[in-house]
């Protein structure tokens, strides 16, 4: 009599006979087969059919009455596989995969460039009013004579005070600025201090030698450029 358990393992008997089941499936089917005479016989039938085919195949090899059966099947399988649309698609993808990879790389580069450009163009933020950029711009934009004092403050050695003492333009709202710098801007500020300071409190730009004035203007340009990059 066929029980419900027999029905539940019927589809797996071939895989069980072939040793193709694993894990829980294998345990479940093996348990049932061990306790069911009918299913044990079913498994034996499947194994005997397989054994008969293998035995016959060895006979065909010895006496090639039906030569090329296996190789014929394999050849036909390969031929049919090679003609299937999926195989053709696989081959097409395989043949073109470097083109696809190249195209993908070019597209990715283009998209990345576009994204970066967009970020640079659209993502530019308004510079801070007290940034060196604003300071440099303010100093550079001031018409007429420019006076500046750059001197180290007491206390922390890395603090500088930039004070706009006098200008023909209206006093800049961003001055004075207390700047604590550890980066390359500090170098620019130090260079500015060195050039402008001269140990005295005031330096008039117009009274500088041409070489010094050019150097100061260059430094201001550097500050402006450095801070535009921020």
């Amino acid at each position: 009599m066929i029980s419900a358990d027999c029905d539940s393992v019927r589809d797996d008997l071939d895989a069980f006979a072939d040793g193709e089941l694993r894990g829980d499936e294998l345990r479940y089917v093996a348990q049932h087969v061990d306790s069911c005479l009918r299913c044990t016989e079913e498994v034996e039938v499947r194994r005997s059919v397989g054994g008969l085919i293998r035995q016959s195949a060895s006979h065909w090899h010895r006496e090639p009455t039906h030569p090329g059966l296996a190789s014929g099947v394999v050849t036909r399988v390969r031929t049919e596989s090679s003609l299937s649309w999926r195989a053709m698609l696989n081959r097409a993808v395989e043949d073109w995969h470097w083109v696809i990879v190249g195209g993908g790389a070019v597209t990715a580069t283009f998209v990345s460039t576009l994204l970066c450009t967009s970020l640079v163009i659209l993502g530019a933020t308004k510079p801070r009013a007290d940034s060196l950029s604003a300071l440099g711009t303010s100093l550079k934009a001031s018409p007429g004579a420019m006076y500046a004092e750059v001197s180290p403050q007491g206390g922390k050695s890395d603090e500088l005070v930039l004070v706009q003492l006098e200008t023909s333009a209206a006093p800049s709202p961003v001055l004075p600025n207390v700047l604590t710098r550890e980066d390359e801007e500090r170098g620019l500020v130090d260079a500015l201090a060195e050039t402008l300071g001269r140990g005295g409190p005031l330096v008039e730009l117009t009274s500088m030698s041409d070489a010094d004035r050019k150097k100061v203007e260059g430094l201001l340009d550097s500050i402006t450029r450095a801070n535009w990059r921020d």
Binding site: D11, E20, I53, H59, W60, T65, A87
Partner: protein, 68 residues
């Protein structure tokens, strides 16, 4: 030897009567010795399809050999 040859002939005829899909899986399994996974890859079908074709092929072969 004669009996062996006769059995081999019967099996061959039974195999020959199988639809190609079933003959392919039984030959690839029993003679070529491929696993279900390898057969599925060779034929571009699912492993479940291999299992069902193999089951049908064996059943057909069994009936065919019994009735020959």
């Amino acid at each position: 030897v004669l009996q062996e040859r006769e059995t081999a002939g019967r099996v061959w005829r039974a195999l020959d009567q199988l639809p190609f899909e079933q003959r392919a899986v039984i030959v690839l399994r029993e003679i070529v010795g491929l696993s279900y996974e390898e057969i599925a890859t060779s034929l571009n079908v699912a492993v479940g399809t291999v299992k069902s074709r193999l089951a049908r092929a064996r059943e057909t072969l069994r009936l065919s050999l019994v009735h020959q």
